[in-house]
Symmetry: none
C-alpha cells in the first residue's frame, strides 16, 4: 500500500478485496472485515474504505446489510459473453484471424434514417464501408456511420485499425451499450459480389446503434454477414 501518489487509496483497497475474494480468502456469503477494521488496517479514514466498498457494491461484488456487515455476493453468471464487441474482438474470441479491406471512406450529409438514429438535426457523417475477412475468407460487408462532430479528426488510417480502441483510449470516450436489430435477408446483387455468394443466398443483416455513457449515440452500423459462415451468439437474462 503506497500512501502517496500512485493510485488512490480506495482503489488499492478495492484491489486488495478483489484479490482476497478471487483467492478464496473471502468466499461467497462470507462477511468481509468491517469498515472500521479495514480503515484501521490500512490506516485510512472510514469514509475512504466506504468509497472502496461502495464501488464494489455497485458492481454487485459485495452487498451490505445494515447492522450486520458487508458480505461477498454469489459470483455472477459466467462472464455474460462480452456483449458489445467490435468485429476484430468478436473474431478473436472465436479463434479466427481477422482482416479488413476498406472499400470507401466518405464524408456526407447524413441520410434521413441515420440522422434520426444519431439524433442529428442536420449534420455530416463519415460513411465507412468495409469488407471483413475471417481466416482469409469474406465474412461480412459493413457500413458505419459516425457523426463528424464527435470525431472531427477521423482518418483512413484510424479506420483501418481498431476504432473502438481509438475512441476509448485516444479520445477518452466510454462506449456504453447498443441496440441491435437482426434479420434474415436474401443477398442482393451487390452483396453477392462483395461476399462472393450468389444473389438470393440467405444473409444475416445486423443494424446496430451504439451509445456512449452519456447517452449520446455515436455510431450506426449496418452489417451483412454470410449466413453460411456466421452465427450470431448472445446471452440474455430474464
Amino acid at each position: 500500500m503506497k500512501k502517496n501518489h500512485p493510485l488512490p487509496m480506495y482503489y488499492q483497497i478495492e484491489e486488495f478485496l478483489k484479490r482476497e475474494i478471487s483467492e478464496g480468502t473471502f468466499q461467497a456469503g462470507d462477511m468481509i472485515p468491517s469498515e472500521r477494521e479495514l480503515s484501521e488496517r490500512f490506516q485510512v479514514s472510514r469514509m475512504t474504505v466506504r468509497q472502496a466498498v461502495s464501488n464494489m457494491v455497485n458492481d454487485g461484488i459485495l452487498y451490505r446489510e445494515k447492522g450486520r456487515g458487508t458480505f461477498v455476493a454469489e459470483k455472477k453468471i459466467e462472464q455474460p459473453l462480452k456483449g458489445l464487441t467490435s468485429f476484430t474482438e468478436d473474431m478473436k474470441l472465436r479463434g479466427m484471424t481477422s482482416a479488413t479491406r476498406l472499400l470507401s471512406f466518405d464524408v456526407m450529409q447524413a441520410p434521413q434514417d441515420i440522422a434520426s438514429k444519431l439524433k442529428l438535426e442536420e449534420g455530416e457523417v463519415y460513411a465507412v464501408k468495409r469488407i471483413r475477412f475471417a481466416d482469409r475468407q469474406a465474412m461480412a460487408v459493413e457500413t458505419s456511420f459516425l457523426p463528424v462532430s464527435l470525431l472531427p479528426d477521423l482518418t483512413e488510417d484510424i479506420v483501418q485499425g481498431s476504432m473502438y480502441e481509438y475512441m476509448e483510449h485516444v479520445l477518452d470516450l466510454t462506449i456504453s451499450h447498443a441496440r441491435q436489430e437482426i434479420e434474415a435477408r436474401a443477398a442482393d446483387e451487390n452483396e453477392g459480389t462483395e461476399l462472393q455468394i450468389e444473389a438470393g443466398a440467405p444473409v444475416l443483416h445486423i443494424e446496430r446503434c451504439s451509445y456512449l455513457d452519456n447517452g449520446i449515440p455515436f455510431e450506426v452500423v449496418k452489417s451483412t454477414y454470410r449466413a453460411d459462415r456466421y452465427k450470431f451468439i448472445s446471452d440474455i437474462v430474464r
Copy 2:
C-alpha cells in the same frame, strides 16, 4: 427540505435534481449547479451533495467531467428491452396478438445434440412442436425440448398456454438466463409449407438454451421465423 429525520438529505437532493430534470429546468447536456453551490443552497456539506450526485451518476442520469462540471445525460433507452421473453410476451411487447397451434407433443429419447445441451446422460425429453401466429398470420415454427425429469407432469393443455407462467408460478422454478444462436437460412420444403412461404426464402433460425437460477438447463428451443415479418431486437452492454 426537512433537515431532520424524515428522509436522508442526499435522497431529498436526488429528488430535487430529478424533478428539475423531468420538468426541463435542466435539460440533457446542461450542467447542473456545482457541488459547492448545491451544498450552500441546501445548507449541507459537499460530501452529502456528492452522495446524491454519485447515486445519480451510477444510475446513468448524470455524468461528471473533471474540471468542467456535472451534466445531465441523454435520457436512457426506453425500458432496456426485457431480455428473455416467451413468444407470447414478445408479441405483446410489439403490440401484436399472438396465437399458437400445437403440431405435435411427444415424449422421446433425447437426440444427441439436445441431450448434450441439456446435460442429460441419457433420458427422455418432451418434444413440443408449435406454429406461432402473430395477428393471425404464421410467424414462426418452433420445436421445444424439455427434460421429462424436470417437468414430470407436463400436459398438452399446459403447453397450449404459457409454459413460462406454469414453470415460474406452479412449479416455482426461477428462469434465469439463456444463450442464443441466431443465423439466417433458406427455408426448406417443410418450413415453407408450415410458414406459407416459398422454399428457399430467407428465414431467421434461432436456437436457444435456457437455464434456471441454479444453473441447470431446462429447455432447448429451435425456432424458425419468417424473415419478412420478424426482426430480432436486443440490447447489449459493453
